[in-house]
């Protein structure tokens, strides 16, 4: 099939950037979206132009590196699918495809479709851990954890940190990202001890990094390629309430 791509090109953080149009001809429906871009890039290189740069690495939907808003939806909007797992068979011959980077003040554009997501690192560094030392910890079975609790923690822990929740959110809030870690650790005996400090520090960091506030649009849940539920934001809110007056 033949497609027309409208791709955001921006040479650096200070450049204004604009959408450029490229044809993508002879695209196989078996290609992944990124393989389609690879082919377009090969063509650009051959014609002496600069290839489109985009973040990608594992190409199997787990590393969280790929980050594109396709036709107005993060990762293309297919349920539980990252860009790298999106296949061209979900498009039709003659389609116009708009490809843009994540857009948020907290994610400045580095180049073309690549953004700087270090703000998410700061949130994690603010408290996304248990303060255990290497060694000197009790046996893994010392604290039994009921299966429903372990499953709940695992549901939250599936977050791949791609930032689609921020990209989709009309407020550019990273609340879903933050809540996934807060909720995971809050229900486990190992994480409970520091739960109060964690939720305060991580949400404060979210604010400091220039993300917006959560106003319950729930767009993050629909944008998330791992299907992380907004119930974890509710859990974060409950955890926060426990800190009131402390």
């Amino acid at each position: 099939m033949d497609l027309t791509l409208h791709v955001w090109r921006q040479s650096g953080p200070k450049d204004k950037g604009q959408l450029e149009t490229y044809p993508a001809k002879g695209v196989s429906p078996d290609m992944s979206f990124l393989e389609m871009l690879d082919e377009v890039n090969e063509g650009l290189i051959k014609s002496g132009k600069q290839p489109i740069v985009f973040d990608h690495d594992c190409r199997e939907g787990i590393c969280g590196m790929c980050s594109q808003v396709i036709n107005g939806r993060p990762h293309g909007g297919q349920e539980r699918t990252t860009v790298c797992q999106l296949h061209m068979r979900s498009f039709n011959d003659g389609d116009e495809i708009f490809i843009e980077p994540w857009r948020a003040r907290a994610f400045p554009i580095v180049k073309d479709l690549i953004v700087d997501r270090s703000a998410l690192e700061s949130i994690m560094q603010a408290g996304g851990y248990t303060s255990c030392h290497t060694g000197g910890v009790p046996d893994g079975n010392a604290h039994p954890i009921g299966k429903p609790v372990a499953d709940y923690a695992m549901d939250a822990a599936e977050c791949i940190g791609c930032g689609a929740c921020v990209a989709g959110c009309p407020n550019s809030s990273a609340m879903l990202f933050t809540s996934a870690k807060v909720a995971q650790l809050a229900v486990l005996p190992q994480g409970k001890i520091e739960a109060k400090a964690r939720v305060k520090n991580m949400t404060d960091s979210l604010q400091e990094q220039g993300f917006g506030n959560c106003t319950n649009h729930l767009e993050c849940e629909a944008s998330c390629p791992k299907g992380i539920s907004v119930k974890f934001i509710a859990k974060l809110n409950r955890e926060y309430m426990k800190t009131i007056g402390c």
Binding site: H6, W8, L19, V69, N71, G72, R73, G77, F98, E100, R103, A104, R105, A106, G168, P170, N171, S172, S173, M175, V199, K200, T203, D204, L206, Q207, G210, F211, G212, N213, C214, T215, N216, H217, L218, E219, E221, A222, S223, S229, V230, K231, I233, A234, K235, L236, N237, R238, E239, Y240, M241, T243, I244
Partner: protein, 225 residues
């Protein structure tokens, strides 16, 4: 204080004040519906409220404070959220965000404007003094004739429209607000949330129908002096 600065703390303040305001509009609605009982209904209700004296003022001050918090943080949070998204997408398709959730600031401001008008109209009574309870003769039981003021007002198309628009704004605001406070209070536990959202919408519809019934039925002359 952390609560007034934190992103979650302020969200909780919005939810708490919002919920209390919903409590107020519920009571207010029940009182207002007494208009359908004729002059003996609403005029007695108004007389009773007046007899509470200073308590009314305490209540009004509490409402003012709640409202001030809700409006101030509402505007502040919206401004911050706007600053957090400085560049728009060329194409953006919303998957879950609704018109009501995205227009909270605007519906909120419309409600604020409506409220000011409403207070000037029925409480201070300066927008249409000729049909205000202060100017109208007392009713048969020698009470200020609130009933006639309400009926004469809503028989004017413009005033009825203002109230209908105000109530539509309130409806949209509540459509998001009611399910939103459930989420903010942390009561969402996953699958049930769709039902909560639907429930919030239904409650908002009830408010809309009940409130709008007053100007609409009066305008349609179902209620007359």
């Amino acid at each position: 204080m952390h609560l007034t600065q934190s992103t979650v703390g302020r969200k909780i303040l919005m939810a708490v004040t919002g919920l209390l305001l919903v409590g107020f509009i519920t009571m207010h609605l029940l009182g207002n519906l007494s208009v359908f009982a004729g002059p003996d209904g609403i005029n007695a209700y108004a007389e009773h409220l007046k007899s509470l004296g200073p308590l009314v003022w305490v209540f009004r001050l509490i409402m003012l404070a709640l409202f001030a918090v809700h409006v101030t943080f509402g505007i502040k949070l919206s401004m911050e959220n706007r600053a957090a998204t400085p560049v728009n997408y060329s194409i953006k398709k919303r998957m879950k965000t609704t018109f009501s959730s995205e227009s909270m600031l605007y519906t909120g401001l419309i409600i604020l404007a409506f409220l000011i008008y409403h207070l000037l109209h029925f409480t201070v009574q300066i927008t249409n003094p000729e049909i205000s309870a202060a100017k109208l003769p007392l009713d048969a039981a020698m009470r200020p004739d609130v009933f006639s003021m309400v009926v004469l007002s809503f028989q004017k198309v413009f005033i009825a429209l203002v109230y209908i628009v105000g109530m539509i704004a309130l409806f949209l605001h509540l459509t998001h607000g009611l399910s939103s406070f459930v989420q903010t209070f942390g009561w969402n536990n996953g699958p049930s949330h769709d039902k909560v959202t639907l429930g919030g919408k239904l409650v908002a519809v009830v408010f809309l129908l009940a409130y709008v019934a007053i100007p609409v039925l009066i305008l349609a002359r179902f209620v007359n002096i």
